[in-house]
Symmetry: C2
Subunit: 379 residues, 2 copies
């Protein structure tokens, strides 16, 4: 079953006539996910319950979209527009139906949030309401969730491959990183290697010294110092992303507190692994990980101020509730979901460590697809 | 005057209490533009008419944002949240005001569209309406337009520098591109060079042979053939982007029709330049460019199926009406706006050429900041 057919099935359950994706300048990643190509100009994808799918695209991008869909064996009518008038008239004929699903999230600021489905922009939403005032627009969250949260065996194989390729590149880091290089130079070199195989799945974080205490540090022109070097990066090949953090020590003598924290995190990650199983609440692994860090004497509330992990797949931050001790019990893991497991300890203004591996949720035990070094790697 | 102060002035004109930006995972580029750092988690930026600006950010990203604003000398109260409850309570205290500007576009499917201001997602918009039902939300389009469409002399200098650096890298292309390399390899190498200085301002397009007939071709694993090689790329250093397309010929003997089309485009670009002046309608340069191509015997409606250019600045596709013969007369250029000038001719399934330079709109004449080669460059 291809993605369009899978979406059609959910449309039947939702009693919805179709699923409309509105996208320009990559504003909705589900466009690329469905048509397999990045279209920049304003375009609309309509997955129809009755199988009469449509894409409405600007003239200059239509041939490229058409070829991509054809190569996947998906039967879609690619309509083109040359003017705003064309666009409005074609769009109007598509959306004047009783009930259409759109990519908007509901209850954004609550625990039941479907923010993962929130893509359509407010102005675009208003324009559709105006064009089809009789149409009932419902959230497409169940469709996106169904398509992307549990991975197929093909996707899992792609994950294993992309993770292997990523680690092979990270393995070379100690061979060429030197004191005095800038964070940016290291980022450039790693992403260059990624681009030969695919593309970076997000902007690589290279953080030296005190920068490592900012989990989302923006890689800078700062030169690499002796001490902590944190590298958080990922590779995307075709439709699957990796996301890995290794924390190195630059120089010959890691400090005692660095080694202790590294070992504690490594072990806390193993503890968490036991709870990455089908049917387990998302919060369980995070709670157990924090319990372990507490036992080791770390004030986790102060030093570990982010979630334990997030879903991984077509995007580095993919569909699915995140892994956090703050998640409600009703979020549960399912077999063949993919998550990161990335505990960290941060001393603001000083240094931080994060160790991140990628995990496939299993029936009784998880499969850890990547493997952070057990001992700190010295550069 | 810093960006916050500039925005404050517009807020006074709009009689609005503040400007709220809602951003997560880089969903609104205006966040990065204002705070100077990329924050991934959900955050809110509030520029207040009375100068009491606020940022509401997740605990793990707050220190990084605080430091960035401090380094720019901007006085902002960075509030942090640890839980959804914190977030909702702080946000509620910020937005319960009579009138707040948000980044949504109006009249999206009309000639008066302010789609360039359309960032907030529909679900986010609904959540604000629910949290502050009495607040009147207005479009922030006038603020964004005021901040970003006409460039400062500092920004124009940055543009000249980034354009110079980009051309120096493109100049090396004939030295290392070889038949048999893949498009992806060329993209990786160019972006690696860009990353040493800044970052690619968008995903580089490398298109060999028939791929060059797709203006927005997605760079692929296809190997470089003899014949047309189109490279469309840009570099961003700090806050300014370049955007340049060079079309090369690989092999020793460019065909007659390639050379003729290349020369016609080069000349049509010079014709268009004359109309990149203050007060001239956006459509004028495009009309004159097309007239010239018609005189040269090219069916421009069939072969040149995109606009002549777009605004350039903090983003590769920046704020401001695009350059197209289809734009209404009331869109007029202003001194110190920055545009691309990029005519193209495409024979679908065969090959295409695009020549793209970057232009500063002048009082009486434009300044062409980059310079495509007058004669086709052979590789």
């Amino acid at each position: 079953m291809n993605k369009f057919e899978k979406a059609q099935k959910v449309l039947q359950e939702l009693k919805s006539d179709g699923w409309l994706i509105v996208c320009s300048e990559d504003s909705d990643v589900n466009s690329r996910y469905l048509i397999g190509v990045e279209s920049h100009a304003r375009h609309y994808i309509y997955v129809a319950k009755d199988g009469k799918h449509k894409v409405l695209a600007v003239e200059m991008e239509a041939p490229m979209i058409e070829r991509s869909l054809k190569s996947k064996g998906i039967d879609v009518d690619v309509m083109t527009y040359r003017s705003l008038k064309d666009l409005v008239s074609s769009l109007s004929s598509i959306i004047n139906k009783p009930r259409i699903a759109l990519n908007f999230g509901e209850s954004i600021l609550s625990a039941e949030s479907t923010a993962y489905a929130d893509y359509i922009r407010a102005g675009d939403y208003f324009s559709l309401k105006k064009l089809a005032p009789q149409t009932e627009f419902i959230s497409a969250a169940p469709i996106i969730d169904n398509l992307r949260s549990v991975k197929s065996s093909e996707e899992l194989n792609d994950l294993r491959n992309v993770c292997k390729a990523t680690m092979e590149i990270l393995d070379t880091v100690p061979n060429w990183v030197k004191v005095g290089m800038t964070e940016n130079e290291i980022k450039a070199k790693i992403e260059y290697e990624y681009m030969k195989l695919g593309k970076p799945s997000f902007g690589t974080i290279v953080a030296t010294g005190a920068h490592s205490a900012d989990p989302h540090h923006n890689t800078s022109i700062k030169k690499i110092e002796q001490g902590v070097l944190l590298i958080d990066s990922g590779l995307q090949i075709e439709e699957m992303c990796s996301d890995i953090t290794w924390t190195f020590w630059v120089g010959t003598h890691p400090t005692e507190d660095f080694i202790r924290a590294y070992h504690a995190l490594y072990e806390s990650k193993r503890v968490a692994n036991k709870y990455f199983t089908d049917g387990t609440p998302n919060n369980m692994s995070a709670k157990k990980c924090r319990e372990y860090l507490s036992e080791e004497g770390y004030d986790h509330e102060k030093l570990f101020f982010h979630g334990l992990g997030h879903s991984l797949g077509f995007e580095a931050h993919d569909i699915g509730g995140r892994i956090s001790w703050k998640m409600p019990d009703n979020y549960k893991l399912k077999e063949n979901m993919v998550y990161t497991n990335e505990p960290g300890l941060y001393w603001l203004g000083k240094w931080g460590i994060r160790l991140e591996d990628d995990i496939i949720i299993g029936k009784n035990e998880c499969e850890q697809v990547t493997s952070v070094s057990k001992e700190p790697i010295q550069i």
